[in-house]
């Protein structure tokens, strides 16, 4: 398996220099490293620049509607736990319109890998403030500066029940690849929030500015320590990149599976029993 076999013939629609190219490179390398057959992988997304991701992969893909990628993925995993499901989207898709679904995906601990390309702006709609935009950030929808404090995706993920939470940077595809592989190997809801600059509509959060604020997670950080993870996640100055939090907890699919009463009887016989109970 090599990375190029996971790329489709479709040329990405992103602007030259967009951070999402780094994510695409990291993902195709990660898929190659996992060795997953393209036919067993489904790339799911919502709406936004980064949500175009499935078109650029050679796997099965589901480019859904705005904010709803996580429930699409849950439906797939419940119907077909054999499929590998990777979810892609932006900060607006995941934390504004899709915020409720994100929370419930995390608390259920569905076994999916969720890659957020976090550029602190709405790019596809040409430059409005997003849930991760900083206070006072000026955009077309906030000409006097944003009056809303941002949310912190990794903090929310940790607090909502996600069992693998990482932060990455689009300027470091190699580092991203490692975070993705680890997230794909993780059994449970794996969130990777990737700082992925929008080079067209966000002149504040750039490769340069992100790079200045990025810091490596200290080597002695205990990833199973919730408080330590939150401390790093919420550092007011620095973006700690790497795996912030990682624990094991039963996944939703297994809990659902455990309810199933398998026997050697056919489903028709079981339905006959249900019919009997109604007569």
């Amino acid at each position: 398996m090599n990375a190029s076999m996971y790329k489709s013939a479709v040329k990405p629609t992103w602007c030259p220099g967009c951070g999402d190219f780094g994510v695409l490179a990291g993902i195709t390398q990660a898929l190659a490293e996992m060795g997953w057959e393209p036919e067993n992988v489904v790339a799911v997304s919502g709406i936004g620049c980064s949500s175009r991701f499935p078109f650029f992969l050679s796997t099965y893909g589901f480019h859904s509607i705005h904010g709803r990628a996580v429930p699409v993925a849950i439906g797939m995993r419940i119907a077909r736990p054999d499929l590998k499901v990777v979810v892609f989207g932006g900060d607006g898709d995941g934390f504004a319109i899709g915020g409720g679904h994100f929370l419930h995906g995390a608390r259920r601990n569905v076994d999916v890998t969720y890659v957020i390309m976090d550029n602190h702006i709405y790019g596809l709609t040409k430059g409005q403030t997003s849930p991760t935009s900083d206070l006072k950030f000026k955009t077309k929808s906030t000409p006097y500066g944003s009056v809303e404090p941002p949310i912190n995706p990794v903090q929310i993920a940790i607090c909502s029940g996600a069992t693998y939470v990482a932060r990455g940077f689009a300027g470091d595809p190699k580092g991203l690849k490692d975070l993705f592989v680890r997230g794909m190997r993780h059994k449970g809801f794996a969130l990777i929030d990737v700082l992925s600059p929008c080079v067209t509509y966000n002149r504040v959060d750039t490769f340069k500015s992100f790079k200045e604020r990025i810091a490596a997670i200290p080597a002695d950080h205990d990833r199973a320590d919730l408080s330590a993870a939150l401390t790093l996640a919420t550092d007011p100055e620095r973006f700690f990149t790497g795996v912030l939090f990682e624990i094991q907890r039963p996944v939703f699919e297994d809990r659902v599976e455990a309810l199933k009463g398998y026997s050697d009887r056919s489903w028709i016989e079981v339905v006959e029993d249900v019919f009997d109970s109604m007569s």
Partner: protein, 575 residues
Amino acid sequence: MACREMVVRIAGEAGEGVISTGELLTRAASRACFNLMTFKTFPAEVRGGHAVFQLRISCVSVLTQGDGLDLLVAMNLDSWQRHGNDLLPGATLVYDSSAYTPPADRTDLRMIGIPFQALARDELEFELGKNIVAVGAIAELLGLPTELLSAMITTKFAKKGDVVIQKNLSGLDLGVSYVRERLGGEEALKLAPSECTDRLMLANGNEAIALGAMAYGAKHFFGYPITPASEIMEFMALHLPKVGGAMVQAEDEIASLVMAIGASFAGVPAMTATSGPGLSLMSEALGLATMIEAPVVIIDVQRSGPSTGMPTKHEQSDLYIASFGGHGDAPRVVLAPLSVRDCFEQTIVAFNVAESLQLPVIVLSDQGMAVRTETIPRPALAEVTRHGRLLWDGIRTPFHRFEVTESGISPTAIPGTKGGEHVVSGLEQNEEGRPRYDGPTHIAMTAKRFRKLERVSDLVESAVMFGDQTADVGVLTWGSTAGSAMEATPALEHRGIKVAGMALRLLAPFPQADVLAFMNARRVVVIAEGNYQGQLASLVEGRQRAGIRVVRLTSVTGVPIGAGEIITAVEEAAR
């Protein structure tokens, strides 16, 4: 004894066992192969207030819950006062003679006093057992086999131990014996044994839908609690795991439909159920299912009003949103079952349509059907029609998910199929599934999606015709109002008005030609439906041949339109 039918109402103080009395009798009658329709009301409060259980028993199929009563069992004076006037001339009142004596002025009635309370207290030494004494007495009056009831009581109280079982069996026997010995084997109310040979199930509309889905073989349900549809979700939660399936309670209705669409993409038949407010939320995802050509079944158990409206009340006012709700030109199929039995059958049809045409199918049930029970003939599961999706053969390459075909139906590939990898999207797409925004592609793909609707008539019986189709007076209706319309027809004929009836169960694609052909053969057409705007009438009025009058019978009372209202409207219109 000839075949006859009876409308029986049991009324009393809530908490006295009126509902369980009715349910025991109903189940016994169902097992004795009588056709039934029941309806019950009880106060919202847990204790106190007035409870009513009504059952209509027949050896032929039953269309409505019935208007006039043949038998009233009034457990207290209040119940007699509330319901006495609903008794038909010559009908029977059974009253608890240890509780009260009804006034003697109703000489048109047969009055039978049975001291339920005293029997329970003195002979059973179990005052709360009066309802089981009543069960025995009523069963004996109607001629229902008491051994069926003994068996049901034994099962019902199995967990409570032998003492409780024996107490209840003695109570049952006390009621039976009282009628046999003290009333000299009262014969007047006895039903002839049913000659039916079907195996029957007894279910309300919600259960019938869930049973239909299980009969089709659906194993994946995604839902969100909402009155009056939650029961479908609860039924699925209980039973789907047993067939290796799953019910997921989503975080909202948007998620429940989207999860179902995700499951459908992964290759399984999938469904959700909701009521009006949920369907409103699902509008965008409905368009997604249309666009990516995902089979999915959506049940809408309609309730009253816009917004939160009257959640526990009946209405048929979601025809518009089901048929037309959402943005863009979005083909979907809308079915409206005509009865509880039809809820079962049309849910199977809905899956067949969704899977074979790869589109969303909405089934419009309603609160009225959700709360009443009917008997449903039990199908041989092996013989149930089950259409699946047209799958890519794996040979013809390259595979194009949205290949434009004559029928509009494109072979699909399910994840896991090598060589079938493709992307689906809410964006307009070309045959390969790549986003395209040009006119010719959008024209071709829109036409392709709509072309599939031409196959609907092969899969759905769009209407049921009833009455005398040569009559110049017509009744046109849809969904659950069909029962009242069908019941009104012979009554009107009895009064000298011949009526041609048409009950629509296919609302989208709207069978315009059939409806106009029906209307154009009349002088006047009454269109009966449970909404304010005349949502069906507005689709056809003005399109019929000149000179044919349309009378709208609309109703937003919160309860289903009764046969009586239809009779009155037709009598007036036919003049």
